[in-house]
């Protein structure tokens, strides 16, 4: 397995965007924050966009208030020009701001008050992914324009599948200017000739599924949003192009578990298909390896012998723990080998599970050292 050289990646001024992705709970947020901190302390001007940090981690980075703008993180031991800003994504606010920046004030108000918009912007399963991309686009423009940052690290939403991050924006924007929407707006625009028999079947069915009120809300929303369609699609396309650029590096995070590694494999394949630059794989929360060669079988046999005489033997307990640890490490090793067999080209780094949660800068520094394989 080739090794992922994290410090080389962070020190390369050509690296402008790092995207951490993977399935939920594997440590994307932790990894993004740790990479951002390490980069800042090595002299980069960094902003990290986190999606759903654990409460204590957010507190220690000073971003527990959701105000949708990056704030400087206190306590950085930066070298040179290094600095770190952090923010937590507010998806509804980001959506609102897009609407406000694109529409006239009256129209914006109309959209923002529409019940369908409110539901869409706060609960649609893809909105968070879409808004994360939108925010990344904004930060990138700002970084280019004002030179505030030279590296943007992005966390991705805790999706069901790692691929949602790439697919949801496309799905939402193609909905927003797709055929269905055209169809729904058509009656409001007038020309009855558009309403062929097939179309009325569709609107009727929609009305039945969703109820008349919802259909009317959707129609009002869509009509108000009409002028923005083009810009939604354009924005999504621009961000997508940004992700394909040379300055972008994807880091796939996975736990040494079958599901997480399967997701990681899908994601790696997808990045390759879409010409997106993959930097490597982080196997996070690996079980710490055993400190002695004694095999699991020998340990269990010895523990059984001791327990026959003293059921609460401390030594037997230690042997049993050792056997358990060896088995888990062996299982994780097999899973990693299986991944490597099908993806031999993917540079990898392994981060062990810490004893406790990672919730402060020291913890993030520790993860950073493990990521970079220091010590």
């Amino acid at each position: 397995m080739p090794v992922l050289d994290v410090d080389a990646l962070l020190d390369d001024r050509g690296t402008e965007i790092i995207v951490c992705c993977g399935s939920g709970g594997v440590g994307k947020t932790t990894t993004s924050a740790a990479l951002a901190l390490r980069a800042a302390e090595r002299g980069r001007k960094v902003v990290v966009l986190t999606i759903d940090p654990a409460r204590r981690l957010a507190q220690s980075m000073g971003i527990e208030k959701l105000d949708n703008t990056p704030r400087p993180v206190a306590g950085i031991e930066a070298s040179g020009d290094g600095a770190l800003d952090a923010m937590m994504l507010d998806m509804k606010r980001t959506f609102d701001e897009v609407v406000e920046s694109q529409a006239t004030p009256e129209k914006a108000k109309q959209i923002l008050e529409n019940p369908f918009y409110i539901a869409l912007s706060s609960s649609f399963a893809g909105t968070q992914e879409y808004m994360a991309m939108e925010k990344l686009g904004q930060l990138h423009r700002e970084a280019l324009g004002q030179g505030t940052y030279d590296l943007i690290v992005v966390d991705t939403p805790p999706s069901r599948s790692a691929l949602d991050f790439l697919d949801a924006p496309e799905r939402l924007s193609s909905f927003l200017d797709g055929r269905l929407i055209r169809l729904l707006v058509a009656p409001a625009r007038g020309p009855a000739r558009l309403m062929t028999a097939g179309l009325s079947v569709v609107t009727n069915a929609l009305g039945k599924i969703l109820g008349g009120q919802m259909l009317r809300d959707v129609q009002t929303f869509v009509t108000a949003l009409d002028t923005l369609f083009g810009s939604f699609r354009q924005r999504a396309e621009k961000t997508f192009a940004l992700l394909q650029a040379d300055g972008t590096a994807f880091i796939v995070v996975a736990a040494p578990e079958p599901d997480a590694l399967r997701e990681a494999a899908y994601f790696v394949d997808r990045l390759t298909d879409d010409d997106m630059p993959l930097a490597g794989l982080v196997i996070n929360r690996a079980s710490p390896s055993a400190r002695t060669e004694l095999s699991a079988e020998e340990a269990i046999a010895a523990a059984d012998r001791l327990r026959a005489q003293d059921s609460s033997s401390l030594t037997a307990g230690l042997l049993q723990l050792h056997a358990d640890r060896v088995r888990i490490v062996e299982r994780e090793q097999r899973l990693r080998e299986r991944f490597a067999a099908s993806h031999p080209q993917v540079p990898t780094t392994v981060v062990p599970a810490m004893a406790g949660d990672v919730h402060d800068l020291d913890g993030l520094r520790e993860i950073g050292r493990k990521l970079a394989d220091e010590e």
Binding site: A54, L120, R179, L180, A205, K208, Q213, D357
Partner: protein, 341 residues
């Protein structure tokens, strides 16, 4: 395995067991084990998944499941070796919508037109709340299925287990009614939502929470308990999963943590147990023991927080070899012994 007699079940009146928890804590595993545990002799249990990942098929090592109830396993055997049946159903919103439309309206050609215009996609992925009503609607149908109903070959279930979305989305998923309120005020979806809500709020439902003994999952568990209660949904038990081996007693743990172990005693015991021993081996075992003791202490802190929720609690060990059919049966027996089923 059944060294202890099974406890009488804590949830005899429940027909719908909803299993949620933070992502990756073991919802699907616990849901499967619970279904196996509930399937005692003569009983039929249905295990449903709604997240579109074919997790059940992977766990039971069978081909991907269709939108159709399939028998996938015998339940966990009792002392006499007998058991009931477990069926599985993979519910995807597109199929649920088409079935729903076919049930209430004659569709004909329109079905295809709907798909062509992206209506199915819209209703199932974008229209907020509609997707959830479709998913829970199918579960509702299986729970409420009348004896001797329309279709003769349909199985009647004594219990249904739902592998539900994670805690972050569970309130929205189950509280379908209020989510829809502003959107579909009338219409068939709305009346369906009302019926589902009545079942979900009744004592026939229990929402169980799966957690591991770590800070974030435990925090999410107590947030979810508060959210479910506020929504009038019946909170069931807490299943603490992936518990580390309890190989050391409290006294031993303290000794290891405080570096107060007697190394000579361990050395001589290892020799007696026929282990080829040297000082390095002893030091390594003690080091590993210390790592473990630190984690156990953190687990105990979280366990106290779980206990403070004052809900029936069940514990399942972390099985070092991972999860397969045999492991699921082992977990099922443990759930039965503790009275979840």
């Amino acid at each position: 395995m059944t060294a202890y007699p099974d406890r009488s079940p804590d949830w005899p009146q429940v027909g719908l067991h909803v299993v949620t928890g933070k992502g990756g804590t073991g919802k699907s595993t616990v849901a499967a084990a619970l279904a196996l545990a509930l399937a005692t002799t003569g009983k039929n249990v249905l295990l449903c998944e709604v997240e579109g990942r074919q997790g059940i098929a992977k766990m039971f090592d069978v081909d991907p499941l269709p939108y159709e109830e399939r028998r996938i396993a015998k339940g966990a055997p009792d002392e006499s070796g007998r058991a009931g049946q477990v069926f599985a159903l993979h519910i995807d919103p597109e199929s649920a919508l088409l079935e729903y439309l076919a049930m209430y309206y004659r569709l004909g050609r329109a079905g295809r037109a709907l798909d062509r215009f992206g209506v199915i996609d819209f209703a199932t992925t974008i229209a907020p709340g509609v997707r959830d009503v479709l998913l829970t609607g199918k579960v509702y149908e299986a729970v409420q299925r009348p004896r001797g109903g329309r279709k003769k070959d349909q199985v009647q279930y004594d219990a249904v287990v739902l592998d539900a979305p994670p805690t972050g989305r569970i309130g929205q998923f189950l509280n379908v009614n209020s989510e829809l309120a502003g959107l579909a005020k009338v219409g068939p979806v709305k009346s369906q939502a009302d019926n589902i809500m009545n079942l979900l709020r009744s004592p026939r439902t229990a929402v169980h929470l799966v957690t591991i003994l770590e800070e974030m999952p435990v925090q999410e568990t107590s947030d979810a308990v508060a959210e479910l209660r506020a929504a009038g949904l019946p909170v069931g038990g807490v299943v603490v999963n992936l518990v580390r081996p309890q190989a050391l007693s409290a006294a031993s743990l303290a000794q290891v943590r405080d570096d107060a172990v007697d190394l000579t005693a361990i050395t001589s015991q290892l020799t007696r147990a026929k282990v080829d021993v040297d000082a390095e081996l002893v030091a390594s075992l003690v080091d590993e023991g210390r790592d473990h003791a630190v984690r156990r202490q953190l687990e105990d802190e979280q366990r106290a927080l779980v206990a403070a929720e004052d809900l029936p609690t069940y514990e399942l060990p972390r099985l070092a070899a991972g999860i397969d059919r045999g492991a699921l049966l082992e977990l099922a027996q443990l759930l039965r012994q503790q009275g979840l089923a």
